[in-house]
Amino acid sequence: MRTLAGVEDEEKWLAEGIAGIQHNAFFMHRALDANNLREVLKYSALMLSELRTSKLSPQKYYDLYMRAFDQLRQLEIFFKDETRHGLPVVDLYELVQHAGNILPRMYLLCTVGSVYIKSKQAPSKDVLKDLVEMCRGVQHPIRGLFLRSYLAQVSRDKLPEIGSDYEGDANTVMDAVEFVLQNFTEMNKLWVRIQHQGPGTVREKQEKERNELRDLVGKNLHVLGQIEGVDLEMYKETVLPRVLEQVVNCKDNLAQYYLMECIIQVFPDEYHLQTLETLLTACTQLMPTVDTKIVLTQLMDRLSNYAASSPDVLHEFLQVEAFAKLSNAIGKVIDTQLEMPIVGAMTLFVSLLTFTLRVHPDRLDYVDQVLGACVVKLSSVPKLEDARAMKQVVALLSAPLEKYSDIVTALTLSNYPRVMDHLDDGTNKVMAMLIIQSIMKNDSCISTADKVEVLFELIKGLIKDLDGTNVEELDEEDFQEEQNSVARLIHMLDNEEPEEMLKIIYVVRKHLMTGGSRRLPFTVPPLVFSAVRLVRQLEAQGGDIAGEDVRATLRKIFQILNQTIEALSSVPCPELALRLYLQCAEAASDCDLEPVAYEFFTQAFILYEEEIADSKAQVTAIHLIVGTLQRINVFGVENRDTLTHKATGVEIFFPCFPISFLLNYFPNRKLTFPFDQYSARLLKKPDQCRAVYACSHLFWVDDLEGNKDGERVLLCLRRALRIANAAQQMINATRGSSGPVTLFVEILNKYIYFFEKGNPHITPSDIQSLIELINTEMQSDNGNTTVHSDPFFTSTLRYIRVHKQKGGLMGEKYDPIKL
């Protein structure tokens, strides 16, 4: 009937009920004031009769109940005071049972019963037993639940538990437990029964209403959990089996789920551990529709927290073989609950894994076992598509990473990559990123080729395009981030032992080369640097290993490097390749491997010639080349002839400046070819100018006595001046005013540099005239009367001035210059 009525009607009925209670409560209070027992009973029964309504939803009924409850407190005070009503409590206990309607009768009986126990005229257990028995008369689910919850409430502080005022004989705790258990059982039965009432159309609403009532039932379990004197023995023998019996037998989704949850929450961890088997057996007996995984998850969470709480308890876990039992139970649950979505199974595995990691961190085999079970489950279903399941798998895989800060541990888990295989590409990448991040975070070094192999197998989602990946969908930023991570990872692969390190490099290279053009620019540099580091290490310890071997190894490494960098040209990524070639060249030079260095330079120049088109890039490239060349000192005179010969040969094919310059330059460290070809190819005059004056450094290397050609330096600088002049004129022609004098100032600085270095061809007068030139240029800026002061120039002048004033050797040198 209730279900057909609208909310408004319900409000009305509630209002009527409340009015009824208030009305009768008024008369009851009057009778209370007059100490008129007969009237008190009459009106209290009438008041309580309002609770007989069937029209209210649980929520509204609760409202009504609470109002009656408040009144019952007053009534209890009256009942307690024998002088007011003049009847021994035992008689009162009979008297209230004369009420014709059961519901008011039972509320009154419970109220008097509470007084009766308090009076200690009868043992608490007897009264409670009687009350809980008599309550059976109320079979209406909602009314029964509230009545019994009232009973639970008034009896809560009167249980004959140990240490309470109402403690009875030897079996006193048992009596208390028995009472609560019985009340719990009956309440649960009533609660479950709600769903069997009413037509199917209102099932959903009923579910909701039942949910609202669940705490009334659960309260009993809380009480059970708090009864003083329930020891493990009793819990194991009586409490848990009885509760579970009820849970399993009620065959109700909601109840089973909620009550299992309650059991796990309210009883101590230690008890759970000792009764694990019983608890788990019950889990496997739940209805197939119950979300067992959450229950198990909670249980495992609790247990793992318990294990984490103190190391002293760990032996208990071992004693009861907690892992084996949990693992079995989970297997069973997954097997029996066929409808359970894959995400559920995964969640369970995650929990089990978390548990394992916390409780048995030393048992890698357990971890692997869990992962193995997971693989089996995953293999039994088609490709994983559920996002949530995927998330769980990621969680599953991340757990060991977090636990074992050393990623190496995870790498020994044979089932780990097999689980990863079941992820989709996107998730696979996420997972791979997590692995890398974990390595980074823990700063753990992967030191053997085998491990590297496994690791790269794990993160292969990042290393190469997997089948079916839609490249266009990839987010550029994400991609970069991923590849940067890979790059960082490569630096974490390290071994002191060159031999092993070389193997590692081989492995890494093998994997990286499959990456495709988009990845190589990110992954090649770290590999190259890693190899170069090895080279330098080998070179440093040189003598330790038989000379022949070391050199052979080095050659091998450079060979790999060359091939590796070459791969970049297919990308194409010439600037990067150029830089790497130069790096290698320098390393080779340091190892005294002249032909190798030579080869690298060749490669660099080929790139410059053929690939680098952008003028800015060209400028940068020139500077890089010059910088590298300047540092390199490997090329000995003895190779000159061969190289020159080679040079002419090469020159036929590449008749441009850089190659020729290089080939001519190396053998004798003397400039044999003018720069203008090289620099003239640059588009902008300032760039040309800068390139030329940069080249001047090639002829003056401080540490190398044989490589100081002052004349050539001056030649370079003069050429630079000429170009600067030309540039100035060009600007003058187009704009009508000469531009900034920056180029001149820069050249001035070069002059000063070489002057200080003692180049005999740079004289103070050269500097003097250059300064004057600059001054003139600045003043000739027609239309502008004020001298535009260039800060760079000013600083340069200040520098000279400072040295002049300082005196000493430097001061003398600068003395001739007049400012």
């Binding site: 028995e133 059976r136 008369g137 109320v138 039965k189």
Partner: protein, 303 residues
């Protein structure tokens, strides 16, 4: 008006007092007009003794042909109102014919009177005990005064008192088994028992236990039966499921019950029944009636 009243008033005032009237227990009795009056309580084999005062009004004298006191046990059928059937009649002559000038007191005594039946006020029948004082006069009619008293007879607990246990039901619909702890209850007894639901296919709303009194009067073709429900006690609220067992605990004290009477002087019988009633959501009633015997237990043996 006083003289008028005096004229119609009986010539004397008769009052009857019992020897231990002050100490004797008084019990309420409902009179014809609905008033409740307290009357002394006796039981069978008791000696009923007392004094009768006759006091003429205002110095009048009362001539009479003798004064007698009768102890009557009467049964009155309501369909035959005013017509008493005396099953017990004892007479004591307490004065010879003469005149009474002033207040005169006569003691009387009926020793060890056999009063086998209890006072009873039913729907269609009444059984009463009365002392009747008659001042016989030739003319002007006799002067009569009545004094009711109540008789209750106590019996020891029955030696055999089996429980009532029975399985009843409607096929494929409702099967219950009920048990009451006794078949014979004293008037302040408690009915204990339980109702066990073996099969429930109907939606039960509630279950009551009724105490019914069946009063049959007359005999043969003229038998008249009246049934009253004296108590309606709710045992269960809501619909039970199979396997549920509902406790019964009914205190008889609050109800106005009498012992069971079997064929009192071939005039009437009073029987008691426990009626278990189940009401379903469509307000259909399913019931099963069981006779119980009520008896009056001697007070001392209580508790």
């Amino acid at each position: 008006m006083n003289y008028l009243l005096g004229a119609f008033k009986p010539a004397c005032n008769i009052s009857i007092t019992f020897t231990d009237g002050k100490n004797r227990k008084q019990v309420p009795i409902k009179k014809d007009n609905g008033q409740i009056v307290m009357n002394p309580l006796f039981q069978s084999q008791e000696t009923i003794a007392g004094k009768i005062n006759i006091e003429p009004y205002q110095g009048k004298k009362v001539e009479h042909n003798g004064v007698k006191v009768e102890l009557l046990g009467q049964i009155e059928m309501y369909h035959d109102r005013g017509n008493f059937y005396d099953f017990t009649s004892l007479v004591r002559e307490i004065d010879v014919p003469g005149e009474i000038y002033e207040r005169k007191t006569y003691p009387f005594e009926f020793s060890s009177v056999e009063m086998p039946y209890e006072t009873f006020n039913g729907v269609n029948v009444r059984l009463r005990y009365v002392l009747k004082v008659t001042v016989t006069r030739g003319y002007a009619g006799s002067i009569v005064e009545y004094q009711d008293f109540v008789v209750r007879n106590y019996v020891p607990p029955p030696p055999i008192n089996n429980s009532i246990k029975m399985e009843v039901g409607i096929e494929d619909c409702l099967h219950i088994e009920f048990e009451y702890n006794k078949s014979k209850y004293h008037l302040k007894d408690v009915i204990l028992g339980k109702i066990y639901f073996l099969l429930v296919r109907i939606k039960i709303k509630n279950m009551d236990l009724e105490i019914r009194r069946r009063e049959s009067t007359g005999a043969g073709a003229n038998t008249h039966v009246e049934t009253e429900t004296l108590a309606k006690f709710e045992l269960m609220d809501g619909a039970p499921v199979r396997g549920e067992s509902i406790p019964v605990r009914v205190f008889l004290t609050p109800y106005d019950l009498t012992p069971t009477h079997h064929n009192i002087n071939n005039k009437f019988s009073v029987k008691y029944y426990l009626n278990l009633v189940l009401v379903d959501e469509e307000d259909r009633r399913y019931f099963k009636q069981q006779e119980i015997t009520l008896y009056r237990l001697k007070e001392e043996t209580l508790s």
